[in-house]
Every structure is written in C-alpha cells, then in structure tokens.
C-alpha cells in the first residue's frame, strides 16, 4: 500500500517538475522580452548583429531543436549567462544560497517553536484572552505585507533605537581580528531579519497547531486516557500534542512557498545578500536569465519539499496510505 502511494507521489512530483520546466521555457522565450526582441528595439542594431545574437542563443533553429537544447543545457547545469553580471547564472546564484538558507532556516526554527507553543496555549485555554490574543495576532500578521513590517522594524530598531545595524550581512569595511568577532558581527545583523520573518510565520503555525490540537482533544482515545486517571496535563503532553503535530509537517512544507515570497521582501528591505535580494535586482534590471534560474531553483525546491512532506507524512501517520 505504502509503496503504491510513494510511487504515485513520485510520479506526480516528476510530472509537476516537468510542467515547470516546460512552463519556464515558454515563459522566457515565447513571451515578449527575449534577447532578440530587446535588441530589435535598439535602433543601432544592424542585421548582422541580430543574426549573430540569433545564432548565439540558438534562436535561428526550429523551436523543437531549441527545446531539446534547453533541456540538454539544463541537465549540464548550464542556465545561461546573466545580462547584468556577464557571468554564468549558476555562478551568480551560487554564493547567494547560503545567506538565504541561514536567515530563513533560523526564522523557520524560531517560528515553529513559538508557533507550536502559542497554539498549544490557545487550544488549552480556549476562549480565554490568550486564545483570542493568538487569533488576533494571527489575523493581523496575515494581513500585513511582509516588506511593510520589515520597514517598520528597520525604522524602529535600527534608526530610532539604534540597537541593530541598518541592513547588510556584515559591517562594511571592517577587518575582523578573528572568526569569533566576525561571527558576532554577522549574528548582530541577522537577529532583526530573522525575527521579522518569523513574526510573519508564527500566526499561521499557531492557528494550525491550535485547530489540530482541538480536533485531537475530541478524539476517543483522549477520553480513554483521562478515564484511566491520567492528569489533564499528562494527557495533553503525552497523548494530544504529539498527534496534533502531524498537520504541522504539511503546513511547514506548504509554507515554504510563502517563505520564498517573504524572502524577496525581507532581504530587499534589510539588504541581506541572499537569493531574495538577487531576485529583486534581477526583476528591476530585467535580468531574465538570472530570473529564470532563480524561478527554476525556487519552484523545484518547493516541489521537492512538498514531496518529502507527503512521504514523511505517510510514515508518521499510517492512515494516509489511501
């Protein structure tokens, strides 16, 4: 049963990735904005130049040949050359991955921890001020544009209170005595963006946890456990909470897409040198190859994360084998 489920999910994930590849191809070549039509708009472009560019990008070939070349290049790790940096897209994207992973990895961990805690309190003290407060917090943060909260945080903590440095990952022009002081400096830059991003995630995690826990608390086995004479606290900790954590696996995977969208905004406002900031730059300079590479990386990561969540879920909750 589980084998069939995993095979089905694997095929679905592969089909989705295939659609993404085709979609990415169509998006950046068929729609206006390909290198050729951009060159055509330049009055100084001679017919020879246009021919040269056509041959360079393989645009003089039939669409079928172009399509096959696109796949071949992709599997060789060739994502084209950046219009702005004049470097291979992979070389432009590569160094930006780690800062983003650090920033959003920490934000996710913080948000999951606080979100679960708030969710448990809200479900346990249903209808009290703590519950209503959590609900209100979730609604307000849900309604808030990510970049706007980032601007407020930057203005409040970096400009008015001057507790944290104004953006970036390291203090510019500093020669660090040793790795330790450099680490502290990066940490100092990291705190505010991490808190900002986690604030935006906590509400959703708390609500998911709260609703899941309420469902679990109505299950028969909870009544049974209470009837056996276990204390409410013990039942909550040992029976209810572990089972209520299951939906969290899915919501965290689904949320990865949201996190990516937030990354662009948080990194832009805090000038964090990661993938999101690169995306903002690529958007505004219309650096299509970089944009295409980033979009591909992001979508494939999100699809893989969802796939892993599905498979994990089938192991931790055997009821989901269909």
């Amino acid at each position: 049963m589980r084998k069939a489920y995993i095979i089905k999910k694997t095929i679905y994930a592969l089909i989705t990735i295939l659609i993404v590849l085709v979609f990415n191809y169509i998006l950046f070549r068929v729609l206006p904005g390909d290198p050729l039509s951009m060159l055509m708009r330049n009055p100084k472009a001679t017919p020879e130049m246009i021919e040269h560019v056509e041959a360079m990008y393989g645009l003089d070939e039939s669409w079928w040949v172009q399509f096959v070349t696109y796949f071949e290049d992709m599997f060789h790790g060739d994502l084209g050359t950046s219009f702005v940096y004049k470097e291979p897209v992979t070389a432009v994207i590569g160094p930006k991955i780690l800062p983003t992973v650090i920033l959003f990895g920490l934000a996710e961990i913080l948000a999951i921890f606080v979100g679960i805690l708030l969710g448990i309190i809200a479900a346990w003290k249903r209808g009290t001020k703590a519950d209503v407060g959590t609900l209100g917090f979730a609604l307000v943060t849900y309604s808030m544009p990510t970049f706007w909260l980032s601007m407020i945080m930057l203005s409040l903590f970096c400009v008015t209170l001057q507790i944290f440095p104004v953006g970036g990952m390291e203090s510019p022009g500093m020669a660090f005595a040793d790795m330790g002081t450099r680490f502290v400096d990066i940490l100092h830059h990291l705190i505010l963006p991490v808190i900002t991003m986690s604030i935006l995630l906590i509400g959703e995690y708390a609500l998911t946890m709260r609703n899941a826990l309420m469902d679990v608390l109505e299950e028969d086995y909870i009544t049974t456990a209470k009837a056996k004479g276990f204390s409410s606290r013990y039942v909550l900790r040992r029976h209810a909470v572990p089972n209520a954590m299951l939906p969290m696996v899915t919501i965290i995977a689904i949320n990865l897409g949201l996190v990516v969208g937030g990354a662009v905004q948080v990194e832009t406002v805090f000038s964090w040198p990661g993938l999101g900031n690169l995306m903002y730059e690529a958007l505004n300079s219309r650096d299509y190859p970089v944009l295409q590479g980033l979009f591909l990386l992001i979508t494939v990561c999100v699809i893989v994360a969802n796939y892993i969540a599905d498979i994990t879920y089938s192991y931790i909750d055997p009821r989901v084998k269909e």
Partner: protein, 292 residues
C-alpha cells in the same frame, strides 16, 4: 414549484444575512470595508486635485501639519490625498483580479468535477501545479515579463490565484452531481452545459462566495507587494506604489513615518476586513466550527 423554491432561497438568504449581522467579526469587517469603498468612490471627488501636484522643494517630506494632515511625500504631494486616490486603484485592482480568479477557478472546478475521468485528471494536475509552485515568485516573474501596467498586474494576480477555488468547487460539484435531481434532469434529456449552469452552479455558489473574500485579501496584498518591488504601474499611484516610492526615497531610514505607515495601515485594514469576513462565513457555513 419554482416559487416555493425561490421562497426557500430567499429565506436561506435572510437567515444568512441574520447570522452575518449577529456575528461581530463579520460586522467589523463589513464596516471597515464599506468605509474604504466609500472613500474609494467619493475620495477623489472630495479631495482637491491640486494636492496631488508636485510641490516646491520646501514642501517635500514635511511632517504632518494643519495644512497637510498626514504630511507630504518626497515629491511634495499631500500624503492623505494620495492615500484617498490610491484607495480607488488598490480596491479596483483587488476586485477585478478576484473576479478573474473566481471565473477561472469555477469553470475548471465544475468541469473537472462534472466530467470526471481523463478531463478531471488533466485539470487537477494542472491545478496542483498552480497550487504547489510558489505564487509570489510566479507573479513577480510574470509581471516582469509582461511589463508594468495595472492591467497586467490584475491579469497576473487573477491567473495565478484560482487553484484553491477550483479544488473546493470540484469537491462540491462531485457531491451535487450525485444528487437525484441531477439524475432526473439527465433523464429528461438536459445537456451538460444546461446542468452545469442551471443546477450545479447555484449549488456551489455559496462556496464560491466564501472563497471570493479570501482571494480578495490575497489580491490586495499581491498588488501591494508587486508594486513595492517595482513591478507596479508608475502612472497610477496605488497604496503599493506609494510604499514603493517611500522605500526608494528612504522614508524608513529617515524616520518619515507619516509617509510609509498610512498606506501600509490601509492595506492591513482592508485585508483584515476580508479575513474577518472570510472567517465569519466559514463559521456560518460550517456550524461545527462554532463550538470553537
């Protein structure tokens, strides 16, 4: 028979309106939204047009005063006046994008649920694709390729946000299809299109309506975010565009709170009002949730 049916529908509608009025969250949301809609309609008429003109150098980035209640921006324009004219663009953009999204989601959902089999399979893989790919980056890329205009933004938001609706509508269509009255209509020779429009659509409509509210919230946030990222229409100052200019002119790091706080606050209030209404609809339609 049809009059009895319409009477029943009327009664249901009245009950729905009644429980809406009793629901505090729904009321709060409706009131906030109504105020913004009124501002969007009448604001640009009330506000003297000259306050939107570029000001002199000494008028730029001025904090609130009796002359400019919310101060001025980096071009010397009155922030309050901008805010009121921005309401029209932001709300219009949200509503139009929502309509596009609802139409696509409904058509795909009903077709998928009604025809089933291969059509269902293909349409649902397509829907899954839109569900799983991160929508904000998708919107950004589409908007960047199509070029910056308010119509492109509306189009982009509309065609990327329908997947959730399609899923919900499909599930409901599956259950409606099995009901006896549909079988009876088939037996008297009704065509597929007739059944889908006359029988399935009215039955999935309440669900679509509840979904609309949530899509509208997403649409407003998306327009704001896309505009902020420099993908908005430079000729139409929505709240998102105001925030874009505020960020570009360094309002956050120069402490010009009157410039970047109000547009964001408006977005939060509008999205919040949609969220409150959505939450309330959910409660009314799933009475099980009420116990929570």
């Amino acid at each position: 028979m049809s009059s009895a049916k319409s009477m029943m529908r009327k009664r249901k509608l009245k009950e729905f309106a009644g429980s809406l009025r009793r629901n505090k969250m729904a009321m709060t949301g409706t009131i906030i939204l109504t105020i913004f809609i009124l501002v969007a309609i009448f604001g640009p008429i009330v506000v003297p047009f000259s306050t939107l003109d570029f000001g002199d150098a000494e008028d730029m980035m001025q904090p609130p005063s009796s002359e400019h209640l919310l101060g001025t921006d980096d071009m010397g324009r009155d922030v309050l006046a901008n805010l009121m004219s921005g309401a029209r663009i932001s709300l219009l953009c949200g509503f139009l994008a929502t309509i596009i999204s609802m139409v696509i989601g409904t058509i795909i959902g009903i077709a998928s649920g009604y025809f089933g089999k291969a059509i269902d399979n293909v349409l649902m893989r397509f829907t899954d694709f839109f569900l799983v790919i991160p929508w904000l980056p998708l919107m950004m890329v589409l908007a960047a390729i199509l070029g910056t205009s308010i119509w492109n933004i509306i189009f982009v938001i509309g065609i990327t946000s329908w997947a959730g609706t399609a899923r919900v509508v499909r599930a409901q269509t599956l259950s409606v299809k099995e009901r006896q009255f549909v079988e009876r209509t088939v037996s008297i020779g009704a065509g597929n299109i007739h059944i889908m429009i006359r029988h399935v659509l009215p039955n999935v409509f309440p669900l679509i309506f509840a979904n609309t509210v949530l899509i509208a919230a997403v649409a407003i946030t998306s327009e704001t975010t896309l505009s902020f990222l420099g993908l908005g229409d430079t000729t139409r100052a929505s709240w998102g565009m105001m925030l874009h200019y505020a960020f570009e002119s360094g309002a956050a790091s120069s402490g010009a709170w009157w410039y970047y706080l109000p547009p964001g606050l408006c977005v939060v209030l509008v999205v919040l009002s949609f969220a409150l209404m959505g939450y309330a609809f959910d409660e009314i339609m799933n009475p099980k949730l009420k116990e929570r």
